[in-house]
């Protein structure tokens, strides 16, 4: 299923003038950026800057107060229910703790999207599920319940479920939160592997510097005081040459004493 070729086609996601608020409290305003197709894109920023809020608005769990989100050029924010359903199926989400449905086995978790949205017979479905589980390194764990797995395995199982419908885009909410450095490195490798095999556009909300420098193609950085985007671009370039001291502080893992210009 290829979307029609047009000028917007090179962007998987376009965010235009997004304003996010909780009641009267404005968390983000005037947020605009675009994610290119086939990119590993990070949304970064300190605690409380609105990263997770932005994600919740992107995936439609909250309605923005203003602005639009477009997937492959199609308006998601103001979409009719039917169109919205179709767009929802173009992306998968990996939640922070995996958010696996705890009353179902891993197999059932991964199978549910297939059961709801495909006409695959039971046997083919089981094969697809086995493939997805193998893809994330959990072959043979289909009969386990989420509660019986370690945190890292739950995260990977969540990824298998997010990949179930072979989405164009996969969102990750703080994938390495609560994981040890080695496990989180392995998850990063898995992300790269999936990106390389399927060409999936990947959007990751994170503040893990190791992951950011390890796998990100591009980042946007949000800031609590600015209530919006303060930097966009290649993370290494931003670390060394951003004109915004906050961006350099964050990416260099320093506080306060920002070295003067020309220190490199």
């Amino acid at each position: 299923m290829n979307p029609p070729e047009n000028a917007n086609d090179k962007f998987a996601i376009e965010i235009d003038g997004l304003e996010c608020r909780y009641g009267d409290r404005v968390v983000l305003e005037g947020v605009s950026f675009a994610v290119k197709r086939g990119e590993i894109f990070f949304i970064i920023g300190g605690n409380g800057c609105g990263k997770s809020t932005l994600l919740r608005h992107l995936i439609g769990l909250r309605m923005p107060a203003r602005g639009t989100v477009r997937y492959s050029g199609r308006d998601f924010t103001h979409a009719e229910p039917r169109e919205r359903q179709a767009l929802l199926r173009t992306f998968g989400v990996l939640y922070q703790g995996g958010a696996l449905w705890s009353s179902m086995t891993l197999h059932e978790n991964v199978a549910l999207p297939l059961e709801l949205y495909t006409d695959l017979p039971e046997k083919d479905r089981a094969e697809v599920v086995a493939l997805k589980l193998a893809q994330v390194g959990l072959a043979g764990y289909g009969d386990y319940f989420p509660g019986e797995l370690s945190g890292g395995m739950q995260r990977r199982a969540g990824l298998a479920r997010a990949l179930a419908l072979d989405p164009d885009i996969v969102f990750f909410d703080e994938p390495s939160a609560g994981l040890d450095p080695v496990t989180s490195l392995k998850l990063d490798e898995l992300v790269q592997q999936i990106h390389a095999t399927l060409g999936t556009t990947i959007v990751i909300v994170s503040h893990e510097l190791a992951s950011i420098f390890g796998i990100a193609h591009r980042v946007v950085m949000l800031d609590r005081d600015a209530r919006g985007v303060i930097a966009e671009g290649d993370p290494c370039a931003l670390r060394d040459g951003s004109d915004n001291p906050r961006v350099r502080e964050f990416l260099n893992r320093r506080s306060g004493a920002v070295p003067a210009e020309g220190s490199k």
Partner: protein, 374 residues
Amino acid sequence: MSENKPQARAEAVREGDTLVVHVGGEWKITNPRPAWTSLVEGETVKRIRLIADQLDGWDSSLALFIREARAWSEAQGAAFVLEGLPAGAERLAQLLAQKPAKPPAQPHGLPDLFAVVGQATFKLWVEVKDIAWLVGECAFSGGRFFRGRAQFRWSDCVVEMQQCGAMVLPIVGLISFLVGIIMAYQGAVQLRQFGADVYVADLVGLSVVREMGPMMAAIVLAGRTGAAFAATLATMKANEEIDALETLGVSPIDFLVMPRMTALFLMMPLLAIYSNFLGILGGMLISWTILDIPTSLYWTETKSIIDLSDLSTGLIKAATFGVIIGLSGCLRGLKSDRSAAGVGQAATSAVVSGILLIIVSDAIYAVIFNSLGW
């Protein structure tokens, strides 16, 4: 404890208008330390020099001492000079010296009556809106269900039916049986005075079929199933499992609420019939053993007094109670806070509001059935 290091000490020497205090030794918050007031008792000076030249170690106790000294000198109007203090200790002392910003004053005495009434009313209004929201969503979901478009899984529904049907048979049976026994006993004591023993069957039969059967089943289910629904949904919400459903384009109402509501709606009337039967059985046992009424007579009397309208009022109520239990359980679960405490609160309030609504609706039905002459 064998401490070789010298204890904290402070010595004051007067030099004209100036009081020079030498601080030394090991300052530890767990050990005793010199008191400033005993050091400067009765002194009046213009200037205080605190010299920390023989310090072996220090912690917050030194900062406390300095704070005390500074406060005293301020009260005296004397100048206060610190010398030779380690930078860390000085910073700590400065932190202590800063007056914390006053938190906003707590309201004293009785809270404003208007505010309390207003907040309670607003909360009630929010709850009414929540109930209306869930009823509306369920109606839409029901519409989708009948058009075959709902993401409704019968397998989930059957599991719930087992949970709120077959699994509660023992407890509902026991309670109904005992309620039958209690009513027969109480009735027998009164009726025997008039030699109307056999009317115990009428008393037990009518009250069990019209009221107690459905009610007992509903209260057991509100405590068992309603709380379980609320806790399950609240935990799912806290774990983002419900978010995961929504981003998959699955309505949590279709997928989670409707199977539960349907299960309760279908199972409650069956449970009520079962409860009726065991209640009557309990009454029969007492009449047979205590009152010497033959079981055949008891059964005939019961059959003669209960007609279809009695049974149907009970069953209509039972189905309504089922919907109420499902609504309050699911609503509290879906609207809970995303935390462990939120789960507990959801379960508690599901049971409380469930039982309250059951009683209220029972009263409403009493009026309706009375005016219908049922």
